[in-house]
Homo-oligomer: 632 residues x 2
Amino acid sequence: MTAPVDPRLTALRTLLDGRWADVRAEVREQMGRFRPVEPGLSTEDYRARVLELMHELAATKRPHAGFAPEYGGEGDIGGTVVSFQALGYGDLSLLVKAGVQWGLFGGAVQVLGTSRHHDEYLRRIMDGELLGCFAMTETGHGSDVQHLRTTATYDPDTHEFVIDTPEPGARKDYIGNAARDGRMAVVFAQLVTAGETHGVHAFLMPIRDDAGTSMPGVTISDCGEKAGLNGVDNGRLVFDHVRVPREALLNRFADVAEDGTYSSSIENENRRFFTMLGTLVRGRISVAGGAGSAAQKALALAIRYGAQRRQFSDPTTGEEVALLDYRAHQRKLLPALSTTYALHFAQEDLVAEMHRIQAPGAVVTDEKAQRDLEYRAAGLKAVATWHATATIQACREACGGAGYLAENLLPQLKADSDVFTTFEGDNTVLLQLLAKGLLSDYGHRVGSLGPVGTARFAAGVAAEAVAEKTGLNKLPHRLTKIDPRDAATQRALLHDRAEHLLASLARRLRPALRPGNDQFGIFNDAQDHLLHASRAHVEATVYDAIATAVEQVSDAPARDLLAQVRDLHALSVIEADRAWFLEHGRLTVAESRAVTAGVNDLCASLRPHARLLVDAFAIPENWLDCPLLHVS
Amino acid sequence: MTAPVDPRLTALRTLLDGRWADVRAEVREQMGRFRPVEPGLSTEDYRARVLELMHELAATKRPHAGFAPEYGGEGDIGGTVVSFQALGYGDLSLLVKAGVQWGLFGGAVQVLGTSRHHDEYLRRIMDGELLGCFAMTETGHGSDVQHLRTTATYDPDTHEFVIDTPEPGARKDYIGNAARDGRMAVVFAQLVTAGETHGVHAFLMPIRDDAGTSMPGVTISDCGEKAGLNGVDNGRLVFDHVRVPREALLNRFADVAEDGTYSSSIENENRRFFTMLGTLVRGRISVAGGAGSAAQKALALAIRYGAQRRQFSDPTTGEEVALLDYRAHQRKLLPALSTTYALHFAQEDLVAEMHRIQAPGAVVTDEKAQRDLEYRAAGLKAVATWHATATIQACREACGGAGYLAENLLPQLKADSDVFTTFEGDNTVLLQLLAKGLLSDYGHRVGSLGPVGTARFAAGVAAEAVAEKTGLNKLPHRLTKIDPRDAATQRALLHDRAEHLLASLARRLRPALRPGNDQFGIFNDAQDHLLHASRAHVEATVYDAIATAVEQVSDAPARDLLAQVRDLHALSVIEADRAWFLEHGRLTVAESRAVTAGVNDLCASLRPHARLLVDAFAIPENWLDCPLLHVS
């Protein structure tokens, strides 16, 4: 007889599985059948093994779902990201290689190409018969992809583009699927025709023949061992005047006629480039999701270990104490767990929004919605991947020496997920991008107040600025203390912080708009402010996601439990930045100390439910099982 | 013609090299000759290669220096730790394997054994002919080594000890040199004689014969792949009633007579155990030093890369900007660099103190000095290794995708050094240990005030406590603002914080002394406070070390530069904890904001000198060279 399932577990699982519960169930069931990758494989064997898993995955038809229905897909954009995310419970090399193949390579062909590309290639891409690369990053340009140096020069005599690597720094670098398996690549290059450069465009071209030999003029090398993800064959591509037909241009947004005439539906080069890039937002969202799964898995391991492993005796009882009963241990893991919950719900919201905008037949087509999606994705990717890196590190340490052994999965999880903070956009650059978006929106919002509103608003901001500069703003002395365990208070604190940081940033950067001023210097001096504003904005959004999720739980005990998770998340975010709340008169000293006390209390009260909270992630047991969980 | 060397570089190198400059020069010269380990070796080949390097190292006679002069050593305890530390610029597997062999294994034989062990083994240990293990940690007990379960039961009939692993959790685990190379082991076990247990003692026993076959009754297994340090052969030892002669007991502090009578120069079992452990403090200090070298190397790579690598253009000049010119990038690396400097000087002070106490002919023999050394070592090891982990992570991220490639050294540095926060004492446990020591000292200090002094002191503390509880302590409004760039102010802030945290902790824990109270619960609830107090104490010590170092530089431009490094270190430590300074009325809002502004300003003003500051570490170029440094 098995023990009855705690109804809170069922309720939380249902909530966490959310709208794409059927996709999650399907992927879990598939993962339960996949044999985990054997530890200790050589790089070559590991790559071969992951390729094998790729084909098993293709056979499930799961990867097809994200593609357009006319080519055998389901157009289930959201479901595809969710299924990718669920792969994060398993081998992250498989997740990344699948992401390269179906998300980046296949995705670029789908969204940047037209029927001439779709008809010829999509089906084979979906089936995993045609493996490909997404060759954007160059050795010299990774974050600033608008200034890639690879050229694609149109030759009207032969109706071909000539793809060339003009300098060593223009070499395509870190390209997944390039070192071993890829047969084609979507190559991003500066399009030149009739002596004019039109910016970066994408070209679909072969890099190897069917036998695996490099195409003439294409030099492929191997990036070799990496910190992790060694099941993915990252490589480098150098092109020496390689000729491809005119039709190689993925021409959804721009084309070159036979005679070399350039045309585009988007006139402005800058806007055209960012429109093309924007269609690729799915990769960024997927990475945020993958990071979430990795953090969940690490927490599941560390919390199960901490609940079993005992060390040192309670002087009163003489019994050895479980690690997780130590407040210091709780503080390492439980706030991270609460934030992992919050990020999960924020990710779900983001996926839903992406689906609303990008799924076939989507009614939302306005540019603003698309741009907002990009900003949200940038911010959440940065915050979620940094959270994963820190959390997995904490989990490794919380498992001591056992956490350092490969057999206990944490080392690989840590090594594999580390680069998530870098690829699909360096996190710092992404937060800068978000800040730029927020500032632009802010400008519009303030502008729309009308002259009187703007003046009044400006005066308020200016008065606060003066108070801050002179140090006159003091800690508030309120008659009624605020209760940091109250959701409305949490929301107010986090949103007010985001708003205030943005308003003061806008004010600080205003001089940069004046001609003759050192624009770079002004922006540069405000970097910490700017990154803080972005992070605060993301944290306000993430908070809203878990606060809304709490309201959706109908099972009362589960709701109470999740409300505590929300409280711990909010209070630990506020605690980490309580200096700001103090400096800006948002918390009194007593309230600030109450926040810290609240984190401690919530750690203690969530401790008995920690196991249930990680079990609710429903990570397939065969991907968790390791000696660490069998502590005697 | 080579450019003339900046005199500041010479001055800083001299200062950093310090008292053991000759040892450092010698090790650097040796390392310059060692061929760096080839990347991508299989675990077995890597282990073989590191063993080869061990023998090369032994041939230099460097490892001999730490042993007693009567056995061919130099008794240069300090120099040995410094040379170990310098190895940290190279392969960390070599550093750890050397540490196991000469520090832990050889060190235990030296300090826990007597002439019967020294005469027979020391010379062969020094020469690397006899490789050994330090078998303390068990699967079930790592931090709480006082409660190890392995038994050593004396049999008076045969004059032998019977070494046994009574349960699976008593298996010796993570033991370096055990899986492949070790022939003997110092095994820690509960000594039982005449039916009585006398606590943990050390036994020197063979685990393999000369041919490498396990001794009868000894089962050796391999811990397998680890997150890093795969050149070290960690293994597990299980003993099935293995008989060793009575003389196997390392009998400096305790002995068993032929008839089974137990005797010890230290009557109290607890004190005896901690005296034995205390002699092993060198390992902990060495790990702190190794972490320092690893952080220095990571910073040298990331700062040189950041100064070359350019991305995005300055809108005014149109030129691409070096990464290190971005304030966000400076903030990732330069405060970490300043703290790395401060930790270097703190480490030097600690090594000098250890040398003063432990070198042959040392005049300091009092227990208090030894105990203080242990507390200092515990605290510095925790802070230095966490700093290394965070810094190497930041450096990896600061090098983007390039930082993720094995060829660029950062991945291995990160993976290898990660366990430094765990071995030779889990960092959290070490900070708890330090807090215990600080509290005990504090009790003595307060006690020595006499009745009136104590009452006055207690009243002051109590008044502040009331003010804090009621939130009545406000941010100070001073007529004269404090200048956070003033060294005396920095010192006062950091020491006052340490003192206050300790005093309030002592008050908070006082109820635990009352009988009947839940001692564990009271300590547990105060964990964050306790860890904070320990860290603040270490940070005050570390600050003093760099502040003193600044005063020692005679070259004025070098002193000015180092003073800025000190300022950045102090301000970034204060900035990270400025909530505390605000909550406790130590900084006004304006001052707190000035601290943040100060960090920004110092980042900007140290930027042009960042390369010089990492060059001053004088890391051998052949251990730094990698493609990352040749950015076009």
